[in-house]
Symmetry: C4
Subunit: 125 residues, 4 copies
Amino acid sequence: MSEPIGRHRWVIAEGYIPPQSTGPAPQLVSHETACILNTGDEKAHVVVTIYYSNREPGGPYRVEVPPRRTLHLRFNDLSDPEPIATDTDYASVLESDVPIVVQHSRLDSRQAELALLTTMAFPAD
Amino acid sequence: MSEPIGRHRWVIAEGYIPPQSTGPAPQLVSHETACILNTGDEKAHVVVTIYYSNREPGGPYRVEVPPRRTLHLRFNDLSDPEPIATDTDYASVLESDVPIVVQHSRLDSRQAELALLTTMAFPAD
Amino acid sequence: MSEPIGRHRWVIAEGYIPPQSTGPAPQLVSHETACILNTGDEKAHVVVTIYYSNREPGGPYRVEVPPRRTLHLRFNDLSDPEPIATDTDYASVLESDVPIVVQHSRLDSRQAELALLTTMAFPAD
Amino acid sequence: MSEPIGRHRWVIAEGYIPPQSTGPAPQLVSHETACILNTGDEKAHVVVTIYYSNREPGGPYRVEVPPRRTLHLRFNDLSDPEPIATDTDYASVLESDVPIVVQHSRLDSRQAELALLTTMAFPAD
């Protein structure tokens, strides 16, 4: 048996999908990621809400993380109910029915040499 | 109804606006950002104080974040009561009347290829 | 006598070892690191578990950090019971019998100019 | 009167001063920094201890941060009781007599294009 670790709600205040990329796909396509870890024995049902600067929030987006698995969710891949526009400021809240841990990262390959950033998300429960 | 998430006071100890940039404006202008998320139903009134290494603090700078919105505040854009000098070490404290979440990031394009950094700010209440 | 500082369990939700490198080894080989600090007077016995997106967790990997020492553990170097594949999403949990502090970082030298990221791991006890 | 914000003890588990640099000094010299903010009305007396992988800890290094000031302390500049060697893994603990906030960052200019990283330090009291 594996113990569930973490919190139920996480916040990422920074969000931005660069509009261009250089280098081979899919590894070096510019992307914004929420790395989610579910260490427990039950599937995690995660609801993602996207906040914008100039319109009402988007979502809910629904993703699942199987027991004892990690999901490196690319925001670029979210499509239902709508894709997230590139070159647009946003922020996100992730809510799960079981404890998870969330880390935010971005690979920016707009220019010839990539740049990276990461931070643990803010645990809000 | 949307629930307010976060804290009332956040600290960013690192601050530096690079004095040069390369690449097209405004996306690739070197900038220092406080990404602020207000998930609640009331407008957030945020007061920013800037601390320096060799003079008394600057500010207060006042910004507002509408309900259910994010504001990616570029420190470069602050002008009242005074702009923040480039190539100068500083730190910042953000205080809000409602709960918010704050994340710090920088894009540095002094050289031909950009560099990025980010971290969640320190929640201090 | 030196006081033990930190927590017993830390989580890093992001993990990825780039498949290529440029530049002289070992410093500029692409690597993923867990920086572990043991400030106390007793040796830290640390158990690392690796979570994947599409298979059961790997490990346990066992590492030791002597009293009053830091260990910058490269995930690339883990080999028993198995190496971690490059170009593969993973996440990790580190558990220690004495308090430690864990920080995550990566150097990515797939392209000619290196990129860096870091964050404090999530303390989960 | 200005309120002191933060904690008395902070940990940075990652530490590494790159042995080379490119670009004009001092801005683009590779450096490792502890950004310290003292928002209070009393001077902060900070003691820094450096932990290594293969020898006993170094220090104490003593630095002061005046009231309502930030100090972006370059580890490169520490010299008493001894400088920190470049190309060497280390970690650090900062202890202050008044509350402070500490953020860790590095500029790496070993290659032609700089790389950056940052994270809030771990508050350990």
